[in-house]
Symmetry: C2
């Protein structure tokens, strides 16, 4: 029992934000800064989809609560879009508008795990997912997958080796943060088949669905709608991460359970964020995303080439093994050295057991800035 | 172990939103609607503090992430204000900007409870607090308090009777949702002393701090800064509930622990909401709140008088025992009957063991609308 001044035992395994540890350096650095550590975009949202486009005069009551599930017009726009993108529609009861994908995954995981249960996570992984699992007392089980599995059979074997009697769910992120890889359709079919045979829930994190240019993005939910939680983010899709709005689609009974958690975590997504999202879904968002994808692909390709890496297939990241640039101070020393030149990178251990990797986001600053930062990293590595 | 298609055992005790069950009726009702069920305001935020006041031109990057703790300028404004209102300042590390008070209390409770621990809640209580406690596997222990305790000694005795070996924290809300009562300073001193002797954390929910006109609001944190979490809401303070922004103040180590939970629940408060909050704290907010308090007090007094009740001392609610208006259908029948006349009320059981009470919010619609709704209720009760 914690009591004052002790804390919940679940927190022991959770590290603080990987970014906040660098924040004070970033705030005081003199000179051009290369913020390659955070997954964000330098592009403002499409015109007509910004907070400034909604006023109390045109949208009376826009600073009041919405229903916890989300505005009805947004739910319906999501359903229309899902029918088009996934080839499989949804009922209103299958959709939950959330405080970003983070809030959505938190709500769903809170709804499906008991303390001690295991959630298998394909690694390297989006850093927050392990902490979300731990927040509810469950155990993240990491499976090296991206860059390891080479076909459907080895993908299935990697997951199979991690499943135990305590496993309740499996999580994957495609297009992948941090690797830039996209899971092929036949691999997904094999993974889904295995999940079904073991009665597992599937957490399909598809927040980079618009950003797959090197290989087609394949949606998981149509393969197993009875057990899949489709995870989506207006943040990543349409450049509005600060709005804190995303959505989940899953079986109606499960989404009702998830809504119990979300109501008690953030109550509802922000009203103005829902208005921005609704406007983006009406057309401007997809045009914006298509333009952004072209820009992201170009800078991603250029960054990879400078670092001597294969071009990313999607997402907005490169995951770089910098082992040949480390001295006896290890990765911490490397990260500090590049900070002295204004470059901020995310350490590999935030993404799994990758002590010699860094993650580099190539979209959080304009391409010319990003490429100057990449130049610093490449020189440090002697590339 | 839940596995598909089962859910987490924590959810069993959590009911869905009290409001969502009435939402479909509200959406289809023909005629004037009296939305007395939801705690919100009919007043838009102060000019200069609305989403429309911030643009990409004047605030470049305003749709991007902020640091999980909150914007530095907002943290500093909160600290300034806290020094003035509480007579006790704070360090930045003691403040966390959250997705409303809901997100703040969720983060803190996630940080201080283990499954099976007990949190004592002074009842009747804000409905979401019991569900927040359950979300993390802990047990809400309800203590009839408001309207029961009559002095500092009886207040202390009520709390003392509920403390067990499993108790880790105590929660109170003053000014009180739903009763409109304000806990006097000498009662708080007695409660705090008891909490200290039992090594309990204190959750002091003060979201209606600006709305105490019948008795002075007394802040708990100065009485026990080492164990108190001050809970605040820009939603209630400044009429921006849809923005999802509030803040918590507590001991630095505890707030670092809470930030681990909040980062994994909603990541950060929305950026534009933080800009609105910052603008409100610069002056317009307190002027708005003073004006709103005058308006709220007047309509609250008029509503109470029509119902034959004492005037509320604060918050934005009346908690009405309607036992003399019930037939053999019980409270459900009463609630359905008033809905037929356009009046929506929250059922007493959402606030604790109060099967013959309803909660009535007198600020979610303009005063003339509210008072027409109150007239319907009064007539039903033969008052």
């Amino acid at each position: 029992m914690p009591r004052h001044p002790a804390f919940a035992s679940t927190l022991a395994g959770i590290t603080g934000s990987v970014y906040s540890r660098l924040a004070h350096k970033l705030a005081t650095y003199q000179g051009e800064i290369y913020p390659l550590h955070v997954g964000d975009t330098y592009l403002p949202p499409a015109e007509g989809c910004r907070a400034e486009n909604f006023t109390e005069a045109t949208h009376p009551g826009m600073h009041r609560y919405t229903a916890p599930q989300g505005r009805l017009d947004l739910l319906d726009a999501i359903i229309d879009r899902t029918a088009r993108t996934q080839g499989l529609g949804a009922e209103r009861g299958e959709v939950l508008v959330t405080a970003g994908a983070t809030g959505g995954l938190g709500a769903v995981i809170g709804a499906i795990v008991n303390p001690g249960d295991e959630v298998v996570i394909l690694a390297p992984f989006w850093p927050l997912i392990a902490g979300i699992v731990r927040t509810f007392g469950a155990v993240p089980v990491l499976v090296p997958f991206f860059g390891v599995a080479s076909d459907a059979a080895s993908a299935e074997a990697a997951l199979a080796a991690a499943i135990t009697d305590r496993t309740v769910a499996v999580y994957w992120n495609t297009p992948s943060n941090p690797t830039g890889l996209v899971i092929p359709g036949d691999w997904l079919e094999a993974l889904v088949g295995l999940a079904r045979r073991h009665d597992l829930w599937i957490l399909a994190d598809e927040v980079y669905e618009h950003y797959a240019w090197g290989a087609p993005h394949v949606y998981t939910r149509p393969l197993a709608p009875e057990r899949t939680f489709s995870t989506h983010s207006f943040s990543k899709a349409y450049g509005m991460a600060g709005n804190r709005c995303g959505f989940m689609i899953g079986p109606a009974a499960a989404m009702e359970a998830a809504r119990k958690v979300s109501t008690h975590s953030f109550y509802a997504a922000p009203t103005v964020a829902q208005l921005c999202a609704r406007a983006a879904l009406a057309g401007p968002g997809d045009a914006w995303a298509a333009d952004a994808a072209t820009k992201y692909a170009a800078v991603g390709r250029a960054a990879a080439e400078r670092l001597g890496l294969p071009a990313p297939a999607g997402s907005t990241f490169l995951f770089v093994d910098v082992a040949d640039g480390l001295d006896d101070r290890g990765l911490a020393g490397f990260l500090e050295d590049v900070v002295e030149e204004g470059v901020f990178l995310a350490p590999g251990e935030s993404f799994g057991p990758y002590p010699t990797h860094v993650r580099l986001c190539y979209t959080a600053a304009p391409p010319d800035v990003v490429l100057r930062g990449v130049e610093v990293v490449a020189r440090r590595l002697g590339r």
